[in-house]
């Protein structure tokens, strides 16, 4: 799984779509709803089989980080599954939006 910046992924189990903002410092698996994500152009429909331990949802516009590896992901579409990197739940990055300046 090549989690390079700008790469787009989607959940295999829900409607969530994701963009990698910062890559992880070491290789690993980005998961949504407890299952590895798939490339954005994957044609398979989401299975709906969300692991209850990873069912807090992905919110559009929010950033999610894995502290240990530095992986940062943007929620590009919302979904019911929540994100993890190698099984460790990712946290919402709290950032105060700035006022528009241009």
């Amino acid at each position: 799984m090549d989690l390079r910046p700008g790469s787009r992924w989607k959940s295999a189990v829900c409607d969530a779509q994701l963009v990698v903002v910062r890559p992880p410092s070491s290789a690993g698996e980005l998961q949504c709803g407890g299952v590895a994500v798939v490339p954005i152009d994957d044609m398979k429909a989401p299975t709906g089989a969300i692991d209850p331990a990873f069912a807090d949802g992905v919110v559009i516009g929010k950033r999610y980080v894995d502290e240990a590896s530095g992986l940062e992901v943007l929620g590009a579409k919302a979904g019911a599954g929540s994100l993890a990197f190698n099984g460790v739940a990712m946290a919402i990055k709290g950032a105060k939006p700035l006022p528009a300046s241009d």
Binding site: V21, K77, P99, A100, S101
Partner: protein, 501 residues
Amino acid sequence: MRTPLLLDIAADACPDRPALGGGEEGDDFASYRARASCVAAWLAAQGKANTAFLGMNGTALPVLLFACGMAGTPFIPLNYRLADDDLNKLVARSAPSTLIVDDDMLPRIAPTDGVTLIARSDFEAEFMAGAPPEKIDLPEAGNEIAVLLFTSGTTGDPKAAVLRHANLTSYVMSTVEFLGAGEEEAALISVPSYHIAGISAILTAAYGGRRIVYLPAFTAEDWVATCAAEAITHAMVVPTMLDRILDVMERTGETLPALRALSYGGGKMPEPVIARALAKLPHVAFVNAYGLTETSSTIALLGAEDHRAAFASDDPAVRRRIASVGQPLPSIELEIRREDGSPCAPGEQGEIHVRGEQVSGEYLHKKAIADDGWFATSDAGWLDEGGYLFVEGRLDDVIVRGGENISPGEIEDVLRSFDDIADCAVLGIPCVQWGEKVVAVIVSKSGQPDTVAMAAAIRAKLRSTKTPEQWFVRDALPYNETGKLLRRVLKAELAAEACAG
């Protein structure tokens, strides 16, 4: 990360949200992307390394910018205000290129090897008119350079500032919330296409999900009328624009109830103008932004709360922050350094240095950034105890009189406190005795300025060495079209007549 991604994810998430232009004729995000993809396919087929644009603002511009990113050809907006000779030099430097030109500007362009001219009307008939086309899927392009912007070049030839996709996307993603705008929000863009704020506005609006509306060219009357007609919520202006906008509002009685946020930058805003704006637009959040072409736009900003706090404060240290550009963005490191490179103390003036992913600090064929990533801005400034940044202008404009560094800005501020001063500039003119001497150029409302009282006020508030030794009265001062005072022009004019010794 590449700029087209910003539009791509917005178009996937909210395809039918209004994105471009006004009223019924506008494009939604899906058709915005579809048009850009068709332009990209055409550009790729043209096979030219670069894509240049010469023309007035309009919705063709954002479509072209994203298309360039998709096709992997750097986008080069050219300054139509240049003299024909200078303009044609830049056209030649854009080669090999596809150059899209406003029809009435076509006769200005000399035939140039490697440059294919396309009339704007033909371009718009093909790509902008009619029902939105089908999106064309292109393979991801490779060129890392998104935009080349020619800097104004007050000394020597203009330099081509390089903005990479990584710089611009980093700026957008660290300052804007994805689809953070409400569906009813609309931004009015009136800075010209060849200005960095015109480029960054396209990118931040797409990622934020905010509709953009263009003024072909700025007039205060059109600006106010368009704001009202399009229920504009956000806009960016340069200082000279704001004063004229307020005049029109006064004359027409327009109150712009939909307007929520007005940002300003690109030059020092006179305090009386911002005070007037705050009084006239009490419902609007004002933002003062500071940035450079080489930093992908904004690196520091003074927000609405800062404006209110400064104006309400009795503490002079807080009050004066209205003249600051606020605090550096969280994603930027900023330091003030002395000439020897050591850091300045709070309150001490030096050169502004910045570091961050949005900082390109790069010109074509010339990297201007240090190995450790720091970029020297050539702007003079200082930080107060609270970390608020005060920009004193270009380092070159600092007057060095007998070894003492004198900022024109603080002297100009004292002058502006006189009602009789309509405009003013303080400059250093070569002088045998001191190296440079301080002179003031003023525009007087009465035509009979009391320069003795003005000199006394400067002596009392600042010090005697900062008091102008010569005064010149003019009808107007020279500005460029984005409101930057042309100090070098003024200086050259005065140098001849001013200095006898």
